[in-house]
């Protein structure tokens, strides 16, 4: 019995020593797995892969709920951030646009400071009914404005003041049917008479023109200076179409206004005329049908 026990002890000790040797020889000093490990791992590989795929699927399924909550929070934060960024971009664009318009006004004012005494004003309201085409300015009699003063923009004629309060002024726009202005064709110096509004934002008309009148589409129409309100030489618009009247004796012309009345934001009021000098468009500036100020 003792012998058997001793044999067991020896066997176990030898086994332990053998195992320790085996462990040492298969430690990290070895650059690869031991031979027997490779087939075993290869055998397990498909199962490992399958279980891993299933595990990933389950993880993805449960992760969806967690991710969904996080994504919604992130989405909300991004929306807020985007809204703030959009607001600032809009503000920047507004300022840029305002800067451009004011720059055009300043240029015009500087160019014509010897000819006119100008007051700059901002459009703060517009008549919303269909009967009148008027706008309200943020300056009035306190700034030296009075009725019948001419209102202009860098692109051309806007209208005339028809009512003032200390801090506001109402301007009857050129496009109003009640508005009429003495005009002439810039190229031919032909003075056919009056240009009046049609009630539409983008159309003026010249009525009862002589059948033989020298007027053609594309010609510039400027103020004639007849009457005491508007100085001569201010841009009114461009002749768009000339049509004979049904009586065969006269014809009419439609004029596209130089000013874009839908985008009117800043204007200048001619408070007084310093010299009898015909204002002209700034050098190199061509008339275009773009919104006012954008032709700069």
């Amino acid at each position: 019995m003792k012998r058997k026990g001793a044999l067991w002890a020896i066997a176990v000790t030898l086994a332990v020593i053998l195992l320790l040797y085996l462990m040492q020889s298969t430690g990290w000093q070895q650059s690869d797995m031991v031979g027997a490990g490779k087939p075993l791992r290869e055998l397990a590989w498909p199962v490992q892969k399958a279980v891993s795929v299933i595990g990933d699927g389950l993880g993805g399924f449960f992760g969806y709920f967690k991710d969904n909550r996080l994504l919604r929070q992130e989405n909300q934060a991004l929306k807020e951030s985007l809204a703030a960024a959009e607001y600032w971009i809009q503000q920047m664009q507004e300022l840029q646009e305002e800067n451009r318009r004011l720059g055009a006004l300043l240029d015009y004012k500087t160019t014509h400071s010897r000819t006119f005494a100008l007051v700059t004003a901002q459009v703060i309201g517009r008549d919303t009914d269909n009967w009148n085409q008027t706008v309200i300015l943020d300056k009035g009699s306190a700034s030296g404005l009075a009725c019948e003063m001419a209102v202009i923009a860098p692109a051309g004629m806007v209208g005339r003041i028809v009512a003032v309060t200390p801090h506001t002024a109402e301007v009857l726009l050129l496009i109003d049917r009640e508005s009429a202005i003495g005009a002439r064709v810039s190229e031919t110096r032909f003075s056919p008479g009056m240009v009046s509004g049609t009630g539409q934002d983008d159309l003026l008309e010249m009525l009862r023109l002589d059948h033989e009148a020298e007027i053609l589409p594309g010609q510039k129409v400027i103020t004639s200076g007849y009457g005491s309100i508007f100085p001569k030489g201010l841009m009114v618009g461009v002749v768009e179409e000339v049509v004979p009247d049904s009586n065969g004796l006269t014809k009419r012309a439609t004029v596209r206004p130089a000013v874009d009345f839908r985008r009117l934001e800043e204007v200048m009021i001619i408070r007084s005329i310093n010299a009898d000098e015909e204002p002209v468009l700034p050098e190199g500036q061509e008339f275009s049908m773009q919104p006012e100020g954008s032709q700069k």
Partner: protein, 165 residues
């Protein structure tokens, strides 16, 4: 048949052990499924069978991971022997018996692996082993209530059948 099922469970346990860290993503600690099997088996079959089964299960584990062959074989052999010795005269139906056995076996296994590994030239940091070992022991103990029942019924029926035949 019993040993064949044990081999299959061991293999499944090893696969589970290899994919567990990625699935759980916790501390790189995994439940030691083979150890649970060694302890459960030893409780039913006694110290000698426990030691032999532990040795072979450990050896399979070593071969599976391909490093330090014999390390787990030796450690699980000792655990199997002790678990079999302790549980020989204890009432196995009580759930606290396998829980305590697994807890003691897990701690012992860690200590043995650490010491024998160092003897074999492994350079493990005690802090890492302690940190991961803590989770491993916790996992093992937590799994006992879920795995011991099925194993009990399987082992009881199979061993009873073997004894009868």
């Amino acid at each position: 048949m019993y040993n064949l099922v044990l081999a299959a469970i061991t293999f499944a346990g090893l696969i589970l052990r290899s994919i567990f860290p990625r699935a759980l993503g916790l501390a790189w600690a995994t439940p030691d499924f083979p150890l649970l099997l060694v302890v459960f088996n030893a409780m039913f079959r006694g110290p000698v069978y426990g030691a032999v089964t532990g040795f072979f299960i450990g050896l399979t584990e070593d071969l599976f991971f391909g490093r330090f062959i014999g390390l787990n074989a030796l450690a699980k052999c000792v655990v199997g022997f002790l678990a079999g010795s302790l549980a020989k005269s204890i009432f196995k139906e009580n759930i606290w018996v396998p829980i305590i056995n697994v807890f003691a076996g897990s701690v012992l296994s860690l200590i043995l692996v650490f010491i024998i590994g160092h003897l074999a030239g492994a350079r493990w940091y005690l802090a890492n082993v302690f940190y991961q070992g803590l989770f491993e022991v916790l996992f093992n103990v937590c799994l006992v209530p879920f795995l011991y029942g099925p194993f009990f019924h399987f082992a009881d029926s199979r061993l009873h059948f073997q004894e009868e035949s």
